[in-house]
Amino acid sequence: MTVNFLMQNLINALQWGSFYALIALGYSMVYSILMLFNFAHGDIFMVGAYIGLGVSLGLLSLFGSGAAAVLPGWVVLVLTILISMFLTAFVGIIVERVGYRPLREAPRASAAITGLMIGIILETANILFLGGSRLKFPQLIESVTYNIGGVYVTNKKIMIVLVSIGLMLALHQLITRTKWGMAMRAMAYDYVVVPLVGVPMNTIAAMTFAIGSALAAAAGILFGLAYPVLDPYMGVSFGWKAFVAAILGGRGSIMGACIAGFMLGFIEIMTVPAIQIMNRLFSLNIGSNFRDLIAYSIVLLILIFRPHGLFGQAYSAKLRL
């Protein structure tokens, strides 16, 4: 058990954490302003990945690939991410408009069920239109492995983590520096009053879904680069795990979602070396397939001691006017 081995796992944890954090943000942003969890969000991540696949294939056929490429791979990648984020944002807007807005005054459970239904619709639509087979995500950039003092890092892992953190910082700027972000913060505090100051609440809600979905699309593409096989149900387990991160971070907390996303990646990945250490120390024989059982038991324990999550805020009673 070397330091290198731990470092190696730490890098993997950062990568997984990036996916969880990017997706968890969508749950938290929507929850913070509308007090509902968008349970279709995991499937929006899936749709984002597939849109990314379509966009990248389109760009590759337009600009050529391999030796005939007109544009370098990383340019195609950046374009793919931006275009797919933009397109997936509209998926989010439609989901809000069709699925949630009509139910704004309905009991929360109805909205939750709506989310699950939309999720099933998205999965089924994917199977219908694309045949349900697993599809390969094109590797837009060439993989390079660096050996840093015995720790192997690929350029893709570095890029995934950096792009994710960059997107989080951009989101932070948007929320703290723009009038749109200000309106989102106001809505998180007391959404009933928002129209009273002339702010169009529906526009802010739609925008929040759009941003959350765009981030999920980015996560989908980054995931496709790291694990280049897409399937229609990829959003299910990922979605639930990211949802766990959103709860762990504290319902509606943006910062909490980021930190808990990384934390969850860390707990999941680090459980495996931890199991190995335990096995060696105590001569046990626990298989690494116990990973999720152990990892999510830890999450459960944290939640028992911090039921509001890490950064949960007690404010916002959301009374009527």
Binding site: K179, A186, D190, V193, P195, V197, G198, V199, Y315, L321
Partner: protein, 238 residues
Amino acid sequence: MLLNVENLRVSYGNIKALHGISFNIDAGEIVTIIGANGAGKSTTLRAVSRMVPVETGSVMTCMGKDLLKFPADKVVSQLGITHVPEGRRLFGNLTVMENLQLATFARKDRDNVKKDYLRVFEIFPRLEERKSQASGTLSGGEQQMLAIGRAFMSGRRLMLLDEPSMGLSPLLMMNVFQALKEINRQEGTAILLVEQNARLALKFSKKGYVLENGNLVLEGASETLINDPEVKKAYLGG
């Protein structure tokens, strides 16, 4: 006529809160509605600001336009009708300045916005001192000033005020009402004031209505109402 309301009826589920009231406000006029707890005063303001649905048959027009065609945010940004709600309802997680900025969300006239901030700080110098403080930590009086300032920033044709005197010391109350008079005089902003403090409201306004159990039972010049024996007995403590 700035605002004309006819046969306004509002229910909360089975509870009928307004049974078809009619009233009107002229441009730049100060009008008050007085009434006991639960009479329907706040409901009246919520109906005008489109925060509660009204029953069919209710008519509300603002400068001839059908108010019912406007959603709540457009009532503010397009018609200039602002609502300072009961309990102020500031965004406590935003700073004083952010609360004011948010109120200009839909405004396009940037130059005027700048001037309007200065106007608010001129009327309420306290707010300028506390510009970057989280509004949730302001004192009750400061919060009321900010609530009025916020409304001022978002529009100024008609301001709906729900019990602005609540929880204020007599001195602060005087300050606030003086500021409101000033806004009314300088900007020509009409005011619809709802108060339990009937004496204060009638002294401040030109025209008054008395609301009882969802019905307007009396209307007239405020001077007349303040001397009306029934009003005196019921609302002015004898």
